[in-house]
Structures are given as structure tokens and as C-alpha cells.
């Protein structure tokens, strides 16, 4: 529809397109809706078990809706999981995640590169050769220099802030490079640890080996960019595409429209299906309304994929169960005990809290077995190598009921036989967390532990619970929060939480301030290990040690209820994107 009207489209303001999408009365949308009845929904949870509606049929408009806008469209600045998933529509990396369902999605496959890296025997040099026929949206070829320049932008944290900075820490641990905007090199390619001997070869030289290096290169922060297309902070408003789609428009907090990038060729890209002719994103801050529109059929799926609202999932499960998936997200929802706050400095007091907690009640507070997740026994999600059912506190026994006798025993061992007082900190913008805080408070009260719930501003949490000194001052003995991996390995999940060298004065995620040299050493070993299976064994050891220290009370391995419209084709959930649908593979039935 739109491709025949390019002149009018050029005239129309971006917002007008978005409004059209909002009202979903565009000719395009109408036509697609009429064909809706032809497809039968595939069945409850079908997309978590395999590919739903396998198809190679092209065309149509894939319509996303969501209540939360992208944190940024700039691939070097985005950190929201759904943004990473979505970024594959318009960015490419040297390597990326396989377009396979479930656990198979976490294996890495070459994307811009012809093959996975040639790794030197000392594990410190990674060499890639680039494919032929790879181009940006203006038809110019993607060169090794463009990839290097894109990666260099991560160094300019004063301008390009917000994204993951793993590559900066791995390639330049001393912080010698100042970023492309302050680069004295005329071509702005001054970073020494990446070499580009010609346009088709790129070599990474690591100061020390890192077994997850390719995992990190697969993040969108490694996307290429031509220096003359870099608009620095403004780049996020219209990224320059290297993938199968390019931006027609984007208005923050309203939405985006992507159309085919005609310079992209399928022959150069083994991963991206690129089935729809057009991809639209509509932002609607009313989450209840988002669910209503999905159920009505106005849109295909929720881009945020954080789970349907209470009312949305009730309607969906009762009336349209076959359109619902219940995937696992790799997130763990948990309570963490800061070791520096009395009396949680005593391991027995920590154990008392763990035993006193009724895991079933906490699961119900999170939303129950479907919308909340499975009761968690330890702090490693099932999708990560090294995960097992290690359960030293019997969380999975007796249907998750509290073990009051054990709790009282531990209280005595802690020297507080009658219980103690503490404060639970919880983010006020997360209703499920507030509900778990209340449930935990109720459980603890039964063994004499008097917990006061302090609701903190969720948007400020990095300077409240993320600051060890504030935590101590406020006396938070229990912090309720959640965590998901940036990339699916033990390094990506556990290291920020339990490696003592990751304790920061603000934005701290090691809330327990656990700093055990033995655990820190194990992380070094695991990271240096290039065999993922062996590394997994080490992460398993770390996880057991952390469990034994009783610093964490895991609630659930999170699951979500997500909507999958009947017209979607090639739908499957991918562990690589924390159990979201693999967006770039989706198509729509005509």
C-alpha cells in the first residue's frame, strides 16, 4: 500500500502515520483484519514448544503494541530486553543468535561474518571475515571499519549512555581510549584492541581471555555505523539501518513505522526471515487497554512482553486460551539480604527468613504458577548452563510451605530466639513486588520477625537500594527485586549479583555486598574457560556456594502470559531473548 505513495508519504508528518496506526483505520490495517478469521489459534503454550504456523509467505503489516517505549533506538544505547529483540529488524552484528525456538536460540551463528571467530590458541585474538553483499540502507557496503566505529561509540559514555559496556571493560580495561568523538585519528578509528587490516577483516585483541566474548559481540551494541551517518545523541531518533527494515518514522512515546530496506538482500543474511512488508509499533501507556486491543485483534503482540495485566490475562485465559503462551523469561524474582545490615550479618538470621517464608504465598503474590512462575530453589535460571535443582532450604518441599520449626531453630542459633525487627525495601511501581513484600511480612510475623515495608520510588532504586551506604542508613535487611541475564551465561546472570568486585557505590546490583575471594576466583576461572560446558560446571559451583551463604531468597523463575494473535506466523519463544518471541522471524498471514 504505502510503497506506491512515496511522494505523499514524504509529505506526511511522522506523527500522522502513527496516529493512523493508533486508530488502526489505515487501508492496510483494515485489509489485514478482514482475513483474520482464516487462521485458527495454535493452542495454549504452542509457541514455547516449537514453531507456530511455519510459513515463508511474505507481505502484510506486523503490528506491535506496548505500554513502554524503547529506552533508545540507538543500538549502542539500548538496554531494554525487548529493544534488543526488536533491534534485529534494523541492525546486524558479526554474529547473532540462531533463529531456532527455545534453548537452541542461544547458540551463536555468523551474521555479517562468514563464520564464527577464529580464536587464537591463547584465547585472546578473535578474527572474523565479512560476508559479501552486506550493505547499509543507502546501498553502501558494510566494512570492517564501520563495525569498529560502531563498537567504538560505546566508549563515548558521556554522549552514548545507557547501553551495556561489557566490550569497553573487556577490550580496554584501563580506559585508555576516549571514544570516537574525542579521537585524534582522522578516520576516528583509534581504538587499539580492534584491528581492521582491510575492509573485510576485523580482529579483536583481548588483554585477557573471556569465554563469553562472542556472546557479548552478539549484543546490539556491536552494530556497525558509518561515521558520516553518526548523529551522536540524536542518532536514536532515526537509526541508519543495516538490516532488512528501515525506519520510516519514530516519535518517542507514540510509536514507530518500519518499511522494507530494499538494499538488504536475503542472500547475504541467513538469519532474518523478513516476512512482513511493514512493521509498526504503537505505544499506549494504558496497559489494560493494550491487552484489550490485543484480544480484540487490533494488534498482533505486545512488544514489551512483560506479561498481560491481571484483567487481560483473565479474559485471555478464559476465552482465548489458544492464543496465549506461558513462557519462562530467565528472570528470577527474589529477596536479597544485605550482609552489612544487622542482624542479617548473621547467616542464621538470614536462614531463619528463608525458612519462615511461605514460597507458595510468595508465588501467589507474584501472580500464581502461570503469571508468576515456578517456585525457585536457587539463584540460577534454568536457561543458563550450570543450572540445577540445588535446594538446600527445601523450597520445593511440602508445596512450598514455610518451615516454621527450622526458622525458630535458626533464630535461636542467631541469638534472637524471639525474632527481630527489620525493614523490607520494595519498588512502589511494581505491584507484584509490593504484593510479595506484604506476603513476606505476613510470613515473617508468624515467627516473630517484625518487618516494616518501605516502598521506594522505583525510578530512583539505583540510588536507593543501589547505594550500599543508603541501604545501611535505612536499615534495609531485605530488598525485593528481580534480575535477568544480559546474555545467557553465568557471567551474564550471576557476576553482577555476587562478584565482590562488582560492588558499586551507586547503581549497585550486588545488594548483599557478598565479597567472597573464593567466589570471585571462580568467576575468573569460568570466564577464562572457552568451553561452555566446563564453564557451566564452575557456575554451578558458584551457585551452590551462594545458596549456602543464604544471601538470597529466590521467589520464582519468572513466567509470563503473553498474547499471540492468530494471524502471526513463525512464532516461537527464544531463550536468547529471555523467553520473548523472536521478533525478526515473525510473519503475518494474509
Amino acid at each position: 500500500m504505502t510503497s506506491t505513495r512515496s511522494s505523499r508519504r514524504a509529505l506526511a508528518a511522522g506523527t500522522a502515520v502513527v496516529i493512523a496506526a493508533l486508530l488502526s483505520t489505515s487501508a492496510c490495517g483494515g485489509g489485514d483484519d478482514e482475513s483474520d478469521g482464516g487462521n485458527r489459534p495454535a493452542g495454549f503454550n504452542a509457541a514455547t514448544k516449537g514453531v507456530v504456523n511455519t510459513s515463508t509467505a511474505k507481505g502484510g503489516t506486523l503490528k506491535f503494541i506496548g505500554s513502554q517505549d524503547f529506552d533508545s533506538l540507538d543500538p549502542q544505547r539500548m538496554y531494554y530486553g525487548f529493544a534488543w529483540d526488536f533491534s534485529r529488524f534494523y541492525t546486524r552484528q558479526l554474529i547473532t543468535y540462531d533463529n531456532k525456538p527455545g534453548a537452541k536460540s542461544t547458540s551463536l551463528v555468523p551474521d555479517l561474518a562468514t563464520a564464527k571467530a577464529e580464536i587464537s590458541s591463547d584465547g585472546r585474538t578473535y578474527t572474523y571475515r565479512l560476508r559479501d553483499g552486506i550493505t547499509f540502507e543507502d546501498g553502501s557496503p558494510i566494512t570492517a571499519q564501520d563495525i569498529k566505529y560502531g563498537i567504538e561509540r560505546i566508549w563515548a559514555q558521556d554522549v552514548i549512555s545507557g547501553g551495556p559496556t561489557y566490550l569497553k571493560q573487556i577490550l580496554d580495561p584501563k580506559g585508555e581510549y576516549k571514544g570516537p568523538y574525542k579521537d585524534k585519528d582522522p578516520k576516528k578509528l583509534g581504538l587499539k584492541s580492534i584491528e581492521t587490516p582491510d575492509a573485510k577483516t576485523i580482529i579483536f585483541k583481548l588483554p585477557k581471555p573471556n569465554g563469553d566474548f562472542e556472546q557479548i559481540l552478539a549484543l546490539p551494541s556491536s552494530s556497525p555505523l558509518k561515521p558520516d551517518r553518526d548523529k551522536a545523541a540524536k542518532y536514536a531518533l532515526k537509526p541508519f539501518s543495516s538490516g532488512p527494515y528501515k525506519f520510516e518514522s519514530y516519535s518517542p512515546n507514540k510509536g514507530a513505522v518500519l518499511v522494507r530496506n530494499d538494499k538488504w538482500s536475503k542472500s547475504s543474511d541467513p538469519i532474518r526471515a523478513a516476512l512482513p512488508d511493514k512493521v509498526t509499533v504503537t505505544i499506549n501507556s494504558n496497559a489494560d487497554d493494550v491487552d484489550k486491543r490485543l484480544i480484540k485483534g487490533d494488534y498482533d503482540l505486545d512488544i514489551n512482553a512483560t506479561g498481560m495485566t491481571q484483567s487481560g490475562r483473565t479474559t485471555a485465559l478464559k476465552q482465548h486460551k489458544a492464543n496465549v503462551d506461558n513462557g519462562t523469561t530467565s528472570f528470577i524474582r527474589y529477596a536479597v539480604f544485605p550482609e552489612k545490615v544487622k542482624p542479617m550479618d548473621n547467616v542464621h538470621c538470614r536462614k531463619a527468613v528463608i525458612y519462615a517464608a511461605d514460597k507458595k504465598a510468595l508465588q501467589t503474590a507474584r501472580g500464581g504458577p502461570l503469571a508468576g512462575g515456578d517456585i525457585a530453589a536457587n539463584m540460577l535460571p534454568k536457561s543458563i548452563k550450570g543450572a540445577d535443582d540445588y535446594d538446600p532450604y527445601g523450597a520445593l518441599q511440602n508445596g512450598g510451605a514455610a518451615n516454621t520449626a527450622k526458622a525458630e531453630e535458626e533464630l535461636k542459633a542467631c541469638g534472637k530466639p524471639g525474632g527481630f525487627s527489620t525493614v523490607i525495601s520494595v519498588r512502589n511501581n511494581k505491584p507484584a513486588e509490593v504484593a510479595t513484600a506484604e506476603a513476606l511480612q505476613e510470613c515473617l510475623g508468624k515467627v516473630g520477625i517484625k518487618a516494616d515495608v518501605d516502598q521506594i520510588d522505583g525510578a530512583q532504586s539505583s540510588s536507593i537500594t543501589g547505594s550500599p551506604s543508603v541501604v545501611r542508613k535505612k536499615g534495609y535487611g531485605i530488598i525485593i527485586t528481580g534480575w535477568g541475564p544480559d546474555f545467557p551465561t553465568g557471567q551474564g546472570f550471576s557476576q553482577p549479583l555476587v562478584d565482590g568486585r562488582f560492588i558499586a557505590q551507586s547503581g549497585n546490583y550486588n545488594n548483599s555486598e557478598l565479597n567472597d575471594p573464593a567466589i570471585n576466583k571462580l568467576f575468573d576461572d569460568a570466564i577464562a574457560e572457552t568451553d561452555p560446558v566446563k564453564a557451566g560446571e564452575i557456575y554451578k559451583q558458584i551457585n551452590h556456594k551462594v545458596s549456602d551463604r543464604a544471601d538470597y531468597l529466590p521467589f520464582v523463575y519468572e513466567k509470563t502470559i503473553t498474547w499471540r494473535s492468530s494471524r502471526l506466523t513463525n512464532v516461537y519463544t527464544a531463550d536468547s531473548y529471555n523467553g520473548r518471541y523472536d521478533y525478526v522471524s515473525l510473519g503475518v498471514a494474509k
Partner: protein
């Protein structure tokens, strides 16, 4: 001061009834209070409001007893009453049964009946105490401003203008977030309640203050005040012995009308998360929780909503009745 005829001349229809009532017996002097009470008794709507108010106060005072007889402890979880898949109560009407009179709360299954009953305590306590603070401050500053006039009056009046223009709700929300967990020997909910009382009361006093000031203005030129002054009475005596007793009527009226406003303010603040701390039950908080389940469990929204509605309506009806009965505006 004790002559009923003054009132009969000035006040609308009710006074004629009063005179019509008395003929057969010997003429007797009646205090204004007695007359007001007779008028109030005649006002059926106000009386109904009054009865509800008395009942509510009794419910609040005896909340623990009522709950132990008819309900469950307000903070006790009953997950067995919750459908784990949806987090909503099992059974119709939000899980209402003879065991749970008003049903159970979604997700955790707390007894809605006992939470509403205990919520009445918080609501009424905060509303009454805040009204008390406001009346105390308002009366004092109003009477001082009205009696002394001049720069004292200007100062107090401008202060009242300032407070009336102040964005009260925003201020309280900001204040609550910085109030520490322990204060004045209270912790947790106690601190929050203390802050609510002081702040709502503090921002409420100018309303009473203005009325009292205006009344004092007109009263201070009266003969009996002149007489007291002539006999050498001190300022304090005149203020609190001569003027204050004659201000009781308007103060009573505005107090009864201020209480429902305070109840609504407390509910609004609780709704916005700036009220008492959970798990202490409060109506506003229940409403705010009910928002996320409004279409799957509407009962949970209706019940605290009704509680607020009935309470505010009862106080307003009673307040209107009291005003009609005392008719302070007709007091020349």
C-alpha cells in the same frame, strides 16, 4: 443572650414551628443550645446522618471486638480462597460467604470485612484528630486576628491566604517520602498517621480561622464586650470568656463539615500511596489496590468505595443539619 425571640425573627421557617410548639405551657426561657437541639431533632435527614455517624464511631472504637466475632484478623492471608491462576477470589461476589462477609482481597485473600472495619478506625481517627488540630489553630488565630485587628490581623490573614493557595496534596506527598521511619517515638504507620494528622490539620485551619475572625470582628463591638472591658477585664478574659463562648456555634458547624473533607483527603492520600503504611488497612489503599482488578473482581472496589461514600454522606448530612439548627448566619 437567652432570648429565643431574637432567633425567631431572623431565621426562616423553623422558628415559627418553635413558637407554635410552646403555647399551652407556661413561658419558659430556653437556651440557644436547646433550641438548636429541638430543630435538629425535627430534621429527619440530619438525624439519619447522625445515627450513621454514631454507628461508624462505635464500629471504629470496637473494631477488634467486631472483627473477632464476625471476621478474621485483618492482616491474615487466606490463599485457599484465591484462584491461583488468576489471583481473584474463588466464588461469586468477590468470595462473599458467611465466613467472609464482604469477600476476600484478590491475590492474598485477606478478609475485606475486617479490613473495612479496621479501615474505619484509621479514617475516623485521622479525620477527627486533624479536625481537632485545625479547630485549635483556627480558633486561636481567628479570634486573635479578629479582636486585635491592625497589623496582627494583616499578618494572620495573609498567612491564611498563603496557606489556602498552597498545593496541599503535592506538599503532603513530597513530605511523606522524606519522613523517616522513626519519629517522635512512633514507627511505621504511627509516624505516617501523625504526619497526616498534623499536615491535614495544619492546612485546614485557615478555613476555620477566617470564619472565626469574621465573627469576632462583629462581636467585639457588642455591648457586653464593651461592658467587660469597662469593668476592667483583661484581654485574655475577654477573648476566651466573653468572645469564645459565642463562637461555639460557627465552630461546631465548620468542624462537622470539615471531618468529611478530611476523610476524603486521607482516602486520596492513601490511594496515592502517601497514607498509612501497609499492611495497616485503609479505605483509600484498598481502592487503589482494587484498580488493577476492577473488571475481574469489582466487589473489591465497590466495598471500600461504599464505605467512603456512606461515611462522607452521613457526616455531610449531619453537618448541614447542625448548621441549619444553629443558623450562625442569622446571628446578625
Amino acid at each position: 443572650m437567652t432570648a429565643p425571640l431574637h432567633d425567631t425573627g431572623a431565621a426562616g421557617t423553623a422558628p415559627t414551628d418553635v413558637t407554635a410548639d410552646m403555647p399551652a405551657h407556661r413561658i419558659e426561657g430556653r437556651s440557644p443550645g436547646r433550641i438548636a437541639w429541638m430543630r435538629l431533632k425535627r430534621d429527619k435527614v440530619a438525624l439519619a446522618g447522625g445515627v450513621v455517624v454514631v454507628l461508624l464511631v462505635l464500629v471504629a472504637v470496637f473494631a477488634p471486638v467486631i472483627v473477632s466475632l464476625l471476621g478474621h484478623p485483618p492482616n491474615e492471608f487466606h490463599e485457599d480462597r484465591i484462584d491461583p491462576l488468576f489471583g481473584t477470589p474463588t466464588g461469586k461476589w468477590g468470595g462473599m460467604s458467611s465466613d467472609f462477609l464482604f469477600g476476600v482481597e484478590p491475590v492474598n485473600g485477606r478478609d475485606v470485612f475486617s479490613r473495612v472495619v479496621h479501615g474505619a478506625r484509621i479514617s475516623l481517627l485521622v479525620a477527627f484528630l486533624a479536625a481537632f488540630v485545625a479547630v485549635l489553630l483556627g480558633t486561636f488565630f481567628g479570634i486573635v486576628a479578629g479582636y486585635f485587628g491592625g497589623w496582627i490581623d494583616s499578618l494572620i490573614s495573609r498567612t491564611m491566604d498563603l496557606l489556602l493557595a498552597f498545593p496541599q496534596l503535592l506538599f503532603i506527598i513530597a513530605l511523606i517520602s522524606v519522613v523517616p521511619n522513626k519519629l517522635w517515638g512512633f514507627t511505621g504507620s504511627g509516624v505516617r498517621m501523625g504526619v497526616l494528622v498534623v499536615v491535614i490539620g495544619f492546612f485546614g485551619w485557615p478555613y476555620i480561622g477566617r470564619i472565626v475572625r469574621g465573627q469576632t470582628f462583629s462581636l467585639r463591638e457588642r455591648e457586653y464586650v464593651e461592658a467587660a472591658r469597662g469593668l476592667g477585664a483583661g484581654r485574655t478574659y475577654i477573648l476566651f470568656r466573653e468572645l469564645l463562648p459565642n463562637l461555639v456555634a460557627p465552630i461546631t458547624v465548620y468542624t462537622t463539615l470539615m471531618i468529611p473533607t478530611n476523610i476524603l483527603t486521607e482516602a486520596a492520600l492513601s490511594f496515592l500511596g502517601a497514607g498509612v503504611k501497609p499492611p495497616t488497612p485503609s479505605w483509600g489503599q484498598m481502592l487503589s489496590k482494587a484498580v488493577s482488578t476492577y473488571d475481574t473482581d469489582p466487589t473489591f472496589m465497590v466495598i471500600p468505595g461504599l464505605a467512603i461514600f456512606v461515611t462522607v454522606l452521613a457526616f455531610n448530612l449531619l453537618g448541614d443539619g447542625v448548621r441549619d439548627a444553629l443558623d450562625p448566619k442569622a446571628n446578625r
